[in-house]
């Protein structure tokens, strides 16, 4: 009996099978952790390999001459100070028209999508009856499931004549059309994130406000919306990032002219559409090729920064409202 007791108390000695099992567990855990590294690796590889192809611009003497930073961003001599014509006898590589085009189109889309997104989120989160809310939320999110090439096609075939007549524009393809079509793509983003932020506001806020005699609208507008403000800002920032990077809609609907004009009826060329339109015909390793990758680096950096800002704000609103850092 005594012997049996000491045997139990002594440190358990693992059988060979148990040791094998332990080893296998460790191997599985190690493999799974290794797989989890893929996400980080992908992000790093993306920036490294896009930047690598763009680097020639700064290392190669020919490329440096043809496309210096000054030529990209400062006005050039001649009749047109800003032109993007990388395939010509004297290549012109000013990125200003691309920046102006991108901003113009993005601005139009934000002007439409932000109020639409926030208002519909307010309706779904605050005013709609429960049954309607459960129906509306997935339906609006379904809009995000339409491929952007289909939205571009829709803009081309259906919206284009309507927009042209409505705003009395000269061209069928222009910045306004691209912006409106783009709004369709980013409304679901703004809606979803805003709605989540509004729903995260505790019930007690609403009850206190209503008890003090505020109407439903006043409660929603002056209590719930301010409480969710960082989350809603994050929604707008995310939508902005999506709008800057969206390619197919803009490529198909904007007309792609490299002009510097803030007129919304003019055709416009965006950064992303430029890559998509020109990468197919470019000579690998040429300055033009590196330039397109350089635009890719710019897009990556813009969206990366916007994403980080958005996720910080989302975290902030959750922290403030729920008191936890999840």
């Amino acid at each position: 009996m005594e012997q049996g007791l000491t045997r139990v108390v002594a440190a358990p000695r693992l059988s060979a099978a148990a040791r094998r099992r332990q080893l296998r567990e460790k191997a599985v855990a190690g493999f799974i952790s290794l797989m989890a590294f893929t996400g980080i690796a992908a992000l790093i590889l993306i920036i490294v390999f896009v930047a690598k192809e763009a680097l020639t611009l700064f290392t190669d003497a020919d490329a440096r001459h043809e496309a210096s930073l000054a030529k990209m961003f400062l006005p050039q001599e001649g009749r047109y100070p800003f032109r993007w014509q990388p395939v010509s006898d004297t290549p012109k590589v000013s990125m200003i028209p691309l920046f102006v085009g991108t901003l113009k189109i993005t601005l139009v889309s934000m002007l439409v999508a932000v109020p639409m997104g926030i208002f519909s989120a307010l309706f779904v989160a605050e005013f709609a009856p429960r049954r309607l809310r459960e129906l509306l939320k997935p339906i609006i999110e379904l809009l995000a499931g339409i491929p952007s090439v289909v939205l571009g096609f829709f803009a081309l075939m259906v919206l284009s004549p309507v927009v042209k007549d409505l705003f009395h524009l000269d061209r069928p393809l222009n910045g306004t059309l691209a912006g409106l079509a783009l709004a369709l793509a980013i409304v679901p983003v703004i809606f979803t994130v805003s709605e989540d932020a509004l729903t995260a506001v505790p019930r007690s806020y609403r009850e206190a406000s209503l008890a003090l005699g505020a109407t439903l609208w006043e409660t929603a507008w002056k209590v719930v919306l301010p409480a969710a403000a960082p989350g809603i800002l994050a929604a707008c920032v995310l939508g902005f990032g999506r709008a800057i990077g969206e390619t197919m809609i803009v490529l198909m609907a904007s007309g792609n002219a490299d002009i510097v004009s803030w007129n919304l009826g003019d055709s416009a060329r965006s950064l992303s559409a430029t890559i998509a339109a020109e990468m197919g015909e470019v000579v690998v390793g040429s300055p033009h090729y590196s330039l397109l990758f350089f635009i890719g680096v710019e897009l990556f950096i813009f969206t990366f920064v916007l994403n980080m800002v958005a996720s910080t704000w989302t975290k902030k609103v959750l922290q403030r409202l729920t008191g936890s850092a999840s």
Partner: protein
Amino acid sequence: MKYTTRRAVGLGLTGLTALAAFFIVGMLALILLNVARNGARHLSWTFLTQPPSDGMMGGGIFPAIFGTAALTLLMTLAVMPVGVLTAVYLHEYAPPESRFARWVRVAVVNLAGVPSIVFGLFGLGFFILFVGGNLDRMLGYEEMHWAQPGILWASLTLAVLTLPVVIVSTEEALRAVPLEQRTASLALGATQSQTLARVVLPGALPGILTGAVLAISRGAGEVAPILFTGAAYFLPDLPTHLDSQFMHLGYHTYVMATQSPNVTEASGPLYATVLVLLALTFALNLVAVIIRTRTRRKAASAH
């Protein structure tokens, strides 16, 4: 202000928010109805099963359907194991407060925000030029073999693009598996990996499949990443090797819509192509959303 006026103003503004919500729904319905009505007119068995002829005006789009399906299948094979295991790490294996897990999350969030055209550049720079170029050198090919656009590279590019979709859905599915099931399994003497393989993953399977469906729907519709990693406008032959180029519904739509000499004449086959593409992506999305809403409701009532 009197309470009644305040209420009236509030009701008016509330109506405005309702208008915004229903306007979005209306636009969605308009797009779907427009495509369905105009597309159905030109849709036929021949259109679905024949290769194009007469400069895209006649015949069908079978190679594009096949190319899209093959591309998404390869993408799914690549993305599912990696995505699911990453989510498993984040939810089951990562120690609490793990710094590595936090970095993985940050990377996934940012990966989801990278513009799709940048994925295209990445596919070209990394998969085709770097991996493909080195493969050719190592395997001793004289001419380019792997260092050119092909279906394998396009599908791997899309796999990276859809990785966040799979990770997020799988994690949500894992969260829905009750903790008691894990503790019960562990208490019966099962190891962690046995619990994972026989209790947790089967329990999370519907959610994981939802993730797969969402990833397929997203991947099948993306055009920008495959523009220069493998899509071709006209190929009468189906892709037979991992390095063949392929036709794609979305790319087909883009080229036909922007480069046809006469768009009104091409609008029949064009609308039908869009309808097939939408049926593929949108229907899958619809299925995923319905399953997801149902599981969410079940999870909410279980707690």
